[in-house]
Symmetry: C2
């Protein structure tokens, strides 16, 4: 807590130009098993540069914390508490599904952000999220310049959906991939051992709204013909009920059982989700759930097999206990790199993971402009999906395999994972103005 | 593979009385993350007594393998393959939901069992299962005496439901308990961090048909007031919708979110399951599933909160990756003890786990007569359920805590748990008779 702590004040519209200024860090969108690892990378790296970054203010509930001037003073947290973020799932400061609209539609919010940044001498903005957040970070970098208070804006990639372009993978994905591959392997052993007199068809529903990366990861569980999963239903492959049921029957005939992994985003050729609930979330995306029961009923009605289904839901993206070591290392690296890039004067960029080789897996951090990443979705390419549309190819396996490698176990106390206990003390408000979101 | 391998033959109705005879081992009912650990305990211990047990024949698909004379020659498996059972979930030889009816109703099946046992000089029967299986083992011990071919019958306890009487706990339960407690803690951190703008109510459906032990284990995730899980719905507590919804609303008001863990066996005061599907399994038990969506819809319709739900289903009982170390050790110990008891001349008994102290947790193996265990169900006692019916008491916590202690990780290859690869070679049939089950 010693070092150059600068007591900043809002001073006639101009920030005080002192050598060390403040940073703002926010978590955005669905959290992951390792988003706090990136937070740890940001904060620990900033603490190594106290001459340039006096404090990292974290948004309570993400960007909402900046808009409402409800920020957390991370300088109040001990080094041990910050280090414990390495093994704490969820978003330690709170995340938000809150998308800033276009500048023209919602100038007031952008202006408010800059007002708060100015008041707290915040010169660096680290936004830890997915496509939407990269768009926001990009817009903030632009408007801050226009408004004469240029903020260094860095995206920190995070999404279990693995759908950001340019980067080889997205922190958060590797751990979900490992969870799904391990769970599929384990459940398949269970089902196979009882298929003679019990369940013949087991369905596992996984996340991945528009991209089938998570569903594809289940394919790592199977190495030999006949191994589960026997069928993967991708959002990228229009659902064909006849072909699906035929394949289920073939599997039961040949292997005694059939394990199906279905993405929540599986859809009919007309684009309608198998399990569209009709409601939409804050980003305007259709809210899904329950595709497993839809598929299960299809099997029951048409084939009559005994079935079971599991819905991994939040368990998959919070499963820090089975996180991929590669994912943990990458999540830290992007947080660290974001701070280093910022201090090098880079802005409107995001650290990306660049794959150098598959075997052995080697990677390094690079950077890419936010403009090239914002609002773009990377779907599973056709060459990663087997010809019948129900499995993954060797190319896909080569891509995915390294991402689930290594175990990074949290410490345990009395049989349960230890997690960080933060004080999350508020930063004193300085703008003297309320802002309602 | 060396040692005293006895080539047994069926010989005019009388078994050859050689010093070393054979054993039959079968897995029964729903498998667990550690049922193969018990198998390992049985086989490794038997191998230490080759002078008395020549070979352990394992039933392919449980007891069905004995009836159809389809047994697996475990002497054909290497020591390494058997040792790998320690970290392999599912049932390595196949399990079955197949209950032998009463002797009067189904004498033919019991006679067939004895016929096969005689033919293969099987003097020891190790039946690894739950209440129903203990009943079968007990009946076999009785009828074998009546038929003049006394078989030493040992139960080996196994059930994730933890509902066997007398024993302190049942192997398989501790690992599910750990999975459920860890998953609840992880998912709760996820939900809490996003409750401001996203899901407020999260529902986790867990197993436990008539006993709430698994649901209770989720309670270990919460230590302080306000910690998740906020509501546990036990089969032992008649469901009261009004009280439930009131509590959900209070939690959201007080803590911003509400985590509900619901047992598949949660039922209305009239005994009807919240999610009764109307179908029944081979044992005549109602087949359940989908209670999470029933509860979720209740919350949505009455309170309008955004919700998510997960159904752990087979993932929970096959999750060897997060097995409890205590559970693994006990699963091995009961397998080992069953063989040792058999060799001491005990029959119609089951090794039980006897708790000596809570803190530190100390236990030893004891034995109990199958007659006292068969067909009895141990429910969660009233003193383990909090007054409002929605949580666990300190007494319950003291009981459960030690059972999830310690991590017993499997080895990994390329990011996935290594599992046993058995040859599962058949034992040559000797009865010359087919038997249809």
């Amino acid at each position: 807590m010693q070092g150059i702590l600068v007591n900043t004040k809002y001073c006639s519209g101009e920030p005080l130009h002192m050598s060390a200024r403040n940073a703002f860090y926010a978590q955005s969108g669905g959290v992951t098993a390792v988003i706090n690892v990136s937070a740890c990378g940001v904060i620990e790296t900033a603490r190594k540069h106290r001459d340039k970054i006096a404090n990292v203010y974290a948004g309570r509930n993400g960007i909402i914390g900046a808009l409402t001037e409800d920020m957390i003073d991370t300088n109040k947290e001990s080094a041990a508490a910050i280090a414990a973020l390495m093994y704490t799932p969820g978003g330690a400061f709170g995340s938000a599904r809150y998308k800033l609209k276009g500048i023209e539609e919602n100038r007031a919010e952008y202006e408010r952000l800059i007002e708060v940044f100015k008041a707290h001498d915040i010169a660096y903005f680290f936004y830890n999220g997915g496509n939407d957040s990269m768009d926001t970070a990009h817009k903030v970098s632009q408007i801050s310049k226009t408004m004469g208070y240029p903020v260094t804006c860095l995206g920190v990639p995070k999404t279990v959906d693995n759908d950001l372009p340019i980067t080889d993978t997205c922190p958060g994905f590797g751990s979900v991939a490992k969870y799904v591959a391990v769970s599929t392997q384990e459940a398949a052993l269970d089902v196979l051992s009882m298929a003679k007199t019990s369940t013949k068809v087991f369905i596992l529903e996984v996340m991945g709204r528009h991209a089938g990366w998570i569903a594809a990861a289940s394919g790592l569980a199977g190495k030999n013909p006949g191994d589960a999963p026997h069928i993967i239903l991708f959002p990228e492959v229009p659902f064909n009920q006849k072909a699906f049921l035929k394949r289920v029957r073939e599997c039961v005939d040949q292997y005694d059982y059939c394990v199906v992994v279905v993405s929540e985003g599986a859809a009919y050729p007309n684009g309608k989700f198998l399990a569209e609930a009709g409601t939409r979330d804050a980003f305007g995306h259709a809210q899904l759930g329950g595709v497993a029961s839809v598929v299960a009923n299809m099997v029951r009605e048409n084939l009559g097999y005994k079935f079971h289904y599991a819905i991994a839901d939040y368990l998959q993206r919070s499963a820090r206990h089975i996180a991929s070591d590669v994912d943990v290392k990458q999540a830290y690296a992007v947080g660290k790199a974001a701070v280093e890039f910022a201090l090098q004067g880079k802005t409107a960029v995001m650290p990306i993971i660049k794959r150098l080789s598959d075997k052995p897996y080697r990677w390094r951090i690079d950077s890419a402009p936010l403009a090239r990443i914002a609002n773009k979705e990377k779907k599973l390419p056709a060459r990663y999906i087997s010809k019948d549309g129900f499995g993954i190819t060797e190319a896909c396996r080569r891509y995915l395999q390294p991402l689930i490698k290594g175990e990074n176990y949290p410490p345990y106390i009395n049989g349960l994972p230890k997690v960080a206990t933060l004080k999350n003390k508020p930063v004193k408000a300085l703008t003297g103005r309320k802002f309602v979101v």
